[in-house]
């Protein structure tokens, strides 16, 4: 078997695994969310049932929609979100497409999947979907600044401190935890960056308090208002995949520790243990960063969210940038 064949098989297996895992996490997220609200919640496998049911349902295209954009958007969106997983190192396993993509590509793929969703909304020919798509675009423009600041700062920091590896590559951060490189000032800077990144997560994954584009009590699920059947199933997958992806990027950047070596494991067992531990970390981050937040707050209005990202969170990330620079310079 050539390397290419191996990569194709491994990639397909990983994507399938991640797909199932993202739905499982979504199910657990819903149960935990319900338990926090003193409800019983749905069965853990409810997202699977939902997606399977939707896959078998009729796909309705509204009369005023633009069919190719309307039908294409969910696929582009889901594919873009899925592809990111090929560039994320999992535990001590290198990413499948290690050499051909870095953090910038991941940012663009996240952006692409969000834009595809907005295109689908615009192509729906519905007022509500249109409003939802506009909100999605506005929200994107708001959270991209802090997100970019965080990524660029980290890359610059790794370059200046001479961390081994490419500055923009996720593997650099996985190989050597940034926490071990920084001094005291830098530590505060990193905490600021982490907080800013965590604040961006709800908007990236479209959950309360940033589910503005899909606000069901305001604009009837907004973006996905007109979607049904297979297309809606793809969007459901996209949402849970984006959650998984965003959390795994945060984990790779800030929590790269592994457990395999600590227990003296070797060979396949080491990879397996680290792989499992990676997903445990992602799961914990999702519970803390997404589920708890969405239980604790209500929904922002779009201008409030923009203000929040442009001033509060951008300020926080810039503070992190300054502190990290000071750490390097001093």
């Amino acid at each position: 078997m050539t390397l290419l064949q191996f990569k194709v098989v491994a990639g397909a297996a990983l994507l399938f695994f991640a797909l199932l895992l993202s739905l499982l996490f979504e199910g657990v997220d819903r149960v935990v969310h319900a338990r926090m609200q003193l409800r019983l919640g749905p069965p853990v496998f409810q997202p699977f049932y939902d997606v399977l049911k939707l896959l078998g349902k009729e796909n309705i295209v509204p009369r005023r929609a633009i069919p190719w954009a309307f039908n294409g958007a969910p696929w582009v969106s889901a594919a873009a979100a899925m592809m990111i997983l090929l560039y994320v190192p999992m535990g001590s396993l290198p990413p499948i497409l290690a050499a051909s993509g870095d953090l910038i590509l991941i940012l663009y793929l996240l952006g692409l999947s969000a834009v595809a969703m907005a295109v689908g909304g615009f192509a729906s020919g519905s007022t509500y979907a249109n409003v939802g798509a506009q909100r999605e675009m506005t929200l994107m423009m708001s959270y991209e600044l802090p997100l970019a600041v965080v990524i660029v700062t980290l890359a610059w920091f790794s370059y200046r401190t001479g961390m081994p590896g490419e500055p923009f590559s996720l593997e650099t951060f996985v190989g050597m935890p940034v926490w071990s490189v920084v001094g005291w000032t830098g530590l505060f800077g990193l905490v600021c960056l982490l907080a800013a990144l965590l604040a961006v997560v709800p908007a990236e994954v479209g959950k309360v308090p940033m589910d503005i584009a899909e606000a069901k009590t305001e604009i009837l699920e907004g973006l996905i208002c007109e979607y049904s059947g297979r297309n809606l199933a793809m969007f459901k997958l996209t949402f849970s995949l984006r959650t998984l992806v965003m959390c795994s990027v945060v984990v790779s950047l800030f929590f790269p520790w592994t457990i395999g070596l600590r227990f003296g494991l070797e060979g396949p067992m080491l990879f397996l243990a680290d792989f499992a531990f990676f997903w445990v970390k992602v799961f914990l981050l999702q519970i803390i960063g997404v589920t708890t937040i969405r239980t604790a707050f209500g929904r922002f209005k779009i201008w409030q969210a923009s203000q929040f990202y442009w001033f509060h969170i951008a300020g926080l990330s810039l503070a992190g940038m300054v502190l990290l620079s000071l750490d390097v310079i001093l």
Partner: protein, 412 residues
């Protein structure tokens, strides 16, 4: 939808919408996310209840009145029975008056908690919604213990009430009062201290005191705008005559009136505490005596058949003044005519003002902020489906038609 180009687009909220409990349409003229103007089109849930009453005797109409609204069912039957009592001169025993007041206040508690929960749900704060629903279960349990039902209690009758407050029920009610005094504060704090909840409700859907007067706002909507209006205070009825009920207005608690959704929220939540106090007072002063003016149903019916007169009553329902008017003709079994004016009928007029210069995201919250009961309010819409022609009846036309109808009815 480019903002600032002065070009507006129409966005319908409703008739069926996730954020609304009942069908109503608000056509919003939006510029970007900003609402320039709004048109309210009711008419989706008219049931012709007033007409149905004309084929029923007053006792049967009680059950019809109860089904005008699922939330304030007891308010409607108290208003109805009081109208009949007014028309016929029936005296209600003191104990029945007190029990009526207690059930009315229990209903107010359950309505206000439900509303507060739904308001939180409207801006995506599902946890507070669930907390509210859990808290509301307690008062529902008490209502069930007292009347046997959770929603339509079947407790009121003409000339009294049909269920007594036994010592065991009294204990249940006192337990509930203690429970809410301990637990309800949590809900209040959760919502008023939450920065997002405050950001969503403050300065949204403002109705100034002046506008509230000119647009006939009632109940908590008017009190939220700082007007001291409360029928329990200004024209007390039933057991409220023996109590000192002060209207709850935000300026007494926060020192300022903004007339926004937050003030309306505050008024409703504080009224829950007020209701608890009223129930406690009513239980302490519960007089002994009969429950009904005439316990024998057939005797009551024959009396009502002989009765001749017009009755009017207005009571403070959880949402505002609920007014019923009735006409009974001597020698006839059935009600001659019956008019209901539910509080939403007045409060809905203020919607367009509240909408102006708010955002699309606020629209369901603004609609919900007056605690609308659309099925209480629905009167008529003239449509001709086959030709797609919809006719709006102007005020003068409507007045003329009303007069015509009254003339027709009087001449009967």
């Amino acid at each position: 939808m480019a903002q600032g180009t002065n070009k507006t687009y129409k966005v319908p909220i409703g008739p069926v919408h996730v954020g609304l409990k009942e069908p109503i349409t608000a056509w919003l003229d939006v510029d970007g996310e900003r609402i320039k103007d709004a048109t309210i089109r009711p008419g989706a849930i008219h049931r012709g209840i007033e007409f149905m009453a004309r084929e029923r005797n007053p006792i049967q109409v009680i059950y019809l009145a109860e089904r005008i609204c699922g939330i304030c069912s007891f308010s409607h039957i108290v208003a109805f029975t009081r109208a009949v009592e007014d028309a016929t001169g029936i005296e209600v025993p003191a104990r029945a008056q007190y029990i009526r007041a207690i059930v009315l206040e229990l209903e107010r508690i359950h309505s206000h908690i439900l509303w507060a929960g739904v308001a939180c749900y409207t801006f995506g704060y599902d946890s507070a919604f669930n907390l509210g629903m859990i808290l509301r279960e307690k008062v529902m349990d008490v209502l069930e213990a007292l009347t046997g039902n959770r929603v339509n209690y079947g407790t009121g009758t003409i000339g009294g009430v049909r269920r007594d407050i036994t010592p065991s029920v009294e204990k249940v009610i006192r337990d509930m009062i203690a429970f809410y005094k301990n637990e309800f504060g949590v809900f209040y704090d959760v919502v008023t201290d939450d920065p997002i909840a405050k950001a969503r409700m403050r300065d949204v859907g403002v109705l100034t005191g002046e506008d509230a007067v000119t647009h006939c706002a009632l109940g908590p909507t008017a009190r939220g705008s700082g007007l001291r209006v409360d029928l329990r205070w200004s024209s007390p009825y039933e057991a409220y005559c023996d109590m000192d009920v002060k209207p709850v207005v935000p300026q007494d608690y926060t020192g300022e009136v903004r007339g926004d959704v937050f003030d309306r929220f505050l008024v409703r939540v504080l009224e829950v505490y007020q209701s608890l106090e009223i129930i406690e007072n009513a239980l302490n002063g519960l007089p002994t005596g009969d429950l009904m003016w005439e316990p024998k149903l057939t005797k009551l019916l024959s009396f009502l058949k002989q009765a001749d007169g017009t009755g009017l009553s207005s009571i403070e329902a959880p949402r505002g003044d609920d007014t019923h008017a009735i006409r009974l003709t001597g020698g006839e079994d059935n009600v001659t005519w019956w008019k209901v004016r539910a509080p939403t009928y007045s409060n809905a007029v203020s919607w367009p003002i509240m909408f102006r210069n708010n955002e699309l995201a606020d629209s369901p919250l603004i609609i919900n902020s007056i605690d609308p009961c659309i099925s209480c309010m629905e009167r008529m819409v003239v449509t001709d489906r086959s030709s797609g022609h919809e006719q709006v009846v102007t005020r003068s036309e409507l007045v003329e038609r009303c007069r015509e109808k009254t003339r027709r009815l009087m001449g009967r």
